[in-house]
């Protein structure tokens, strides 16, 4: 199963221009808030209409501007989990979960089956039997998500975590061909998040359908996703496996989204050195620098106080400013007089007191070589 998306849509502040392909497994769209991630999901679901492009799900064309195909949302078989979960306030948990299940009186999902004959009529006996089957199925799903005892409760009385479970149960019960998750953890307290991430991981494991997971949180993405595509100012970038992306995001925008605190424009000096004017330093790089490289990135944790054999970059520490976090130190400093600041993070387990050394050391492999997208 696969979802192919290639759409363009003019938005207020920028042009949304997104292209990606999501196969089985969890595909993540990572981007800052307001970059067009949610709009992309809404276009896939048919809630919003792109200006042009094509959306294909398992060979079914959901949208094609050239062929003027634009299926309505209810015929797309796309499951959508909203940021605020959008549970129906007037329905109980059970009714919410059953809201998306196919009902016998609805006939086939695509109406009359295309042969022009009226919808199949169901005998009352059949109807009753299938209603009982639907109820049984819904109750199974409730049990699976540990919300069976909440079945007669209204959403207003649920906690954030329970709401998310109900939304997830509703999504699974719907049996859609693709699941779209829009920032599913953003409405949750951080202590709940961890457990629900685990539950989500188990649910999504081997689900056998594409899952598109939208997030601005790199930790969530790292935990849950297999493949990742960054969106910045509406433009999607190359899709990469998650591990590879966090090792080297490839682009300056991707590096910032991956949580790299130090990103600056750089120009190659020979094949193994990068001049970073903003920081006032030149970095030695072990790999050969390609022509497309125009920026450098250094993770805040990559600096070392102690010089190791492979550390062939020595970086002066000027004007340090120390910020104390519960478990680590965050130190911003300049590498040259009047240069821009860099950020260094070191766990308190490694450095008990904030003793700022006169210089830091950096492995030449730890310099990320980045291009502009």
């Amino acid at each position: 199963m696969a979802l192919e998306v290639r759409i363009k849509k003019k938005l207020n502040r920028f042009l949304l221009d997104v292209a990606f392909e999501a196969g089985d497994g969890v595909f993540s769209l990572l981007g800052a808030s307001g970059c067009g991630k949610s709009m992309t999901l809404k276009c896939i679901a048919g809630i919003e209409k792109p200006d042009e492009g094509r959306i294909v799900l398992d060979g079914r064309v959901l949208y094609d501007s050239e062929r003027e195909i634009d299926l309505p949302p209810r015929k797309r078989r796309v499951g959508y989990m909203f940021q605020d979960y959008a549970l129906f306030p007037n329905m109980t948990v059970l009714q919410n979960v059953m809201a998306g299940m196919k009902k016998p009186e609805n006939g086939r999902p695509d109406g009359d089956g295309g042969d022009g004959r009226p919808k199949r009529l169901f005998l009352r006996k059949d109807r009753r039997r299938s209603e009982a089957a639907a109820l049984e199925k819904a109750e199974d799903i409730l049990r699976r998500f540990h919300i069976y005892e909440l079945r007669d409760i209204y959403p207003a009385k649920l906690s954030g975590g329970q709401k998310q479970r109900v939304a997830m149960a509703r999504l699974i019960a719907q049996e859609a061909d693709v699941l779209l998750l829009d920032e599913p953890f953003s409405a949750l307290d951080s202590h709940l998040k961890w457990q629900l991430e685990q539950e989500m991981k188990q649910t999504l494991e081997g689900i056998g359908r594409p899952v598109v997971f939208v997030s601005h949180d790199r930790d969530e993405v790292y935990h849950l996703a297999h493949r990742i595509c960054c969106i910045s100012s509406g433009r999607s970038q190359k899709t990469m496996p998650v591990k590879a992306f966090f090792e080297n995001p490839g682009t300056a925008e991707g590096a910032v989204l991956s949580g790299c605190k130090n990103v600056a424009a750089a120009s190659p000096e020979g094949s193994h050195a990068l001049r970073v004017r903003e920081w006032g330093i030149t970095l030695n790089v072990r790999r050969e620098i390609g022509a497309e490289i125009s920026a450098a990135g250094i993770r805040a944790h990559a600096f070392s106080r102690v010089r190791r054999a492979s550390d062939d970059n020595v970086i002066p520490v000027l004007d340090p400013f120390v910020l104390e976090d519960p478990f680590e130190w965050t130190i911003s400093f300049r590498a040259a007089e009047g240069g821009g600041t860099l950020q260094w993070k070191v766990p308190k387990a490694v450095m008990k007191d904030a003793e700022i050394p006169p210089e830091l050391y950096l492995d030449s492999d730890a310099v990320m070589l980045l291009s502009r997208s």
Binding site: A45, P72, P73, R74, R77, Y80, F88, N90, A156
Partner: protein, 234 residues
């Protein structure tokens, strides 16, 4: 005690019956028309919406006698539409109970329409989107998602509509007149007996109207507050 019974027996209760019947009929019509109009107007373009909304709200801001004027202009037996209706279909609006209902409906309709519209506007649009992606039909979405979510607003709109229709005077007296036992509503009764300075009779009907209004408002509060507890919207 006997005198009270005698008094009650001597009173003609037809104004009460006529007012209630008129109020209920007008409310039912306004309920469906108002919701229908609110839904259509919300889906219209911005400019069309502004104009249509203005027209639909007019009866609320204009004096009821203006509505009465237009109703007579249309339905009077001496006017083309009114005479055609009477000749071809035997429908007479002027001086009939139908006139009462029509006048009350026109006057109370904006209350239903505006309240329904305000209630629909406040619905979390994601609920509708979610319903669509869940495969629900537009009709099902309206009855199972939009209307319940707009519930409190629609209920209070209905109540206000009923209260307004129940007390309608201006347009009703012009169109339907005050025929005892036929179009004589409570408000017309009060106006009529007051012309003779009969405070006792007027007071009697005033008390009845106040009791009805109070019961309605309290009952609604009870109904909506129990619903509110479950929806806990605030």
């Amino acid at each position: 005690m006997d005198s009270l019974t005698a008094l009650l027996q001597s009173v003609d209760f037809s104004p009460l019956i006529i007012s209630l019947k008129t109020g209920i009929a007008a409310t039912i019509i306004s309920f469906f028309l108002g919701i229908f109009a609110a839904r259509k107007v919300l889906r219209a373009g911005r400019h069309v919406r502004a104009v249509i909304d203005g027209i639909l709200t007019m009866p609320m801001v204009l004096p009821p006698t203006v509505a009465g004027f237009f109703l007579l202009l249309t339905f009077s037996l001496r006017r083309p539409v009114g005479s055609a209706l009477y000749e071809h279909f035997g429908i007479r609006v002027v001086q009939t109970w139908l006139g009462c209902v029509l006048a009350a409906t026109i006057i109370s309709f904006p209350l239903m329409y505006r309240n329904a519209r305000a209630a629909f506007e406040q619905i979390d649009v994601n609920l509708v989107y979610a319903a669509r992606t869940l495969g629900m039909s537009e009709t099902a979405i309206f009855w199972r998602v939009i209307l319940p979510a707009a519930g409190p607003g629609v209920v209070s709109g209905t109540i206000l509509t009923f209260a307004r229709a129940l007390g309608e005077y201006g347009a009703t007296s012009m169109l339907a007149g005050n025929i005892q036992g036929k179009t004589g509503t409570i408000s017309q009764k009060i106006a009529m007996v007051m012309q003779n300075g009969d405070y006792a009779a007027a007071g009697f009907w005033v008390v009845i109207v106040m009791v009805i209004a109070f019961i309605i408002v309290v009952a609604t509060n009870l109904v909506t507050s129990s619903k509110m507890k479950e929806a806990k919207r605030f």
